[in-house]
Assembly symmetry: C2
Homo-oligomer: 252 residues x 2
């Protein structure tokens, strides 16, 4: 049996409002054996309130937590992003429960950096945030779906800590969010050039493209291949007026 | 498959210190579909702080919660008591994890009232509290075992809400804590009479007696049988000097 690699798994809080919840999340992480905490644009970062809720034992998590101004920057080094949502809908089809997710990421965690992404207490994750997510998890509730932020962190960490899987499921290292976002920008440039996207709302079709590639789980070298294609196409497009038979680009 | 009967399951907080934790526990219960909250000797019962953490949706739980001055009085109507402990030891051998417990109580919950008992933030459950417990659960942690009270409530409620079992396991209605405590008092009287217990420390052997009967899971009518035996013996003891051949008691 293999266990999840906890040292490859981080909690990312996007725009948390209450410092008490940051502290309580840190304590829950410490209980379950997780150490990496990232916080994006906290509404109020009151170190004393955070530390009090974290308790002395989780202080090291709080002291080493990283804050970011931008969610994409925070997620850049990660290879797999698990989002959490209470609301479901057309753009929010959950892939599974915390238990399903925990089992699913056991093999992925062996070679990949995984982010558990939580939205703010007020809105949860926005549609814009969801585009970074490879897996969407919904905690099953009975009537009242809005779970306290630190409680949600606890349930996901608890389920991962409880999970194990058979040993045979090798999962190669995936491309990072940083590599993927550069690829999506590149693709979007190509799609706009050929009129596949409407300039006034390019995100609409890009969501489907993201969803497809997320399901595939691209590797770094595959991202390089796709970006090579984009470069070649853009060279072709910028030269197509000069010549009807363009030669290959120098950097394919 | 059968699911646990949530309406038969209550959360009992023994001497909680922080009103915020009572409120957060109520919210967690509401998320998972539980409604009965009992609080024994709260250190500070600040309704406003409790209600704020409970949020509007769990307010009905807070408004209908019952407070008690005595743990035995709070537990009296219950047929099965699940205790929670972070510390383990000779008197604290956990029967299982929250997941084991949840699966175990699915059939019991069909016909029995179940209490989930949590100790104070400061000490947890005392040895004295543990004597009421039929099942002891420890939440598995990784290094730092002290979990926030409301987080512990969430994990147990979450596991119960997730649990289901095959349909075939019928569990008859057990004796309540009230019936059992009267029986133990009666037994203790008998044991002291025959010199089976030391008057200066009767609890020592009584713990083993409790542990045995807890494992058996006595029914109401079996408690009546044992109490009848006790009554008969005590009649015999009080009359043994008068006659060497006592006749049967009038109320056997």
């Amino acid at each position: 049996m293999i266990k999840p690699k906890k040292e490859h798994i981080a909690v990312v809080l996007n725009e948390p409002r209450y410092p008490e919840n940051i502290g309580a999340a840190a304590r829950a992480m410490k209980n379950m054996g997780f150490n990496q905490l990232l916080v994006v644009r906290p509404y109020r970062f009151d170190f004393e309130k955070i530390a009090k809720m974290a308790t002395h034992e989780a202080l090291e998590i709080v002291e080493s937590l990283k804050t970011f101004e931008d969610i994409e920057e925070a997620l850049a080094p990660f290879n797999y992003v698990v989002g959490t949502t209470a609301r479901t809908g057309r753009l929010r089809r959950p892939n599974g429960s915390p238990r399903d997710m925990a089992e699913h990421i056991v093999p992925i965690s062996q070679e990949n950096q995984i982010a558990l992404l939580f939205g703010s207490e007020k809105w949860g994750l926005t549609n814009e945030d969801l585009k970074y997510c490879d897996y969407l998890v919904t905690i099953p509730t009975d009537g009242f779906a809005s779970i306290n932020l630190a409680q949600s962190v606890m349930i996901l960490c608890y389920e991962i800590a409880m999970a194990e899987r058979e040993d045979s499921l090798f999962q190669p290292k995936r491309a990072s969010v940083h590599e993927l976002e550069n690829m999506y920008s590149h693709l979007q440039e190509v799609f706009l050039e050929i009129g596949f996207l409407r300039p006034e709302n390019p995100e609409y079709w890009m969501r489907n493209v993201r969803s497809l590639f997320s399901r595939v789980g691209l590797l770094s070298k595959e991202v390089q291949l796709i970006r090579g294609l984009c470069r070649q196409f853009l060279w072709y497009a910028s030269n197509k007026d000069q010549s009807r038979h363009p030669k290959a680009a120098e950097e394919p």
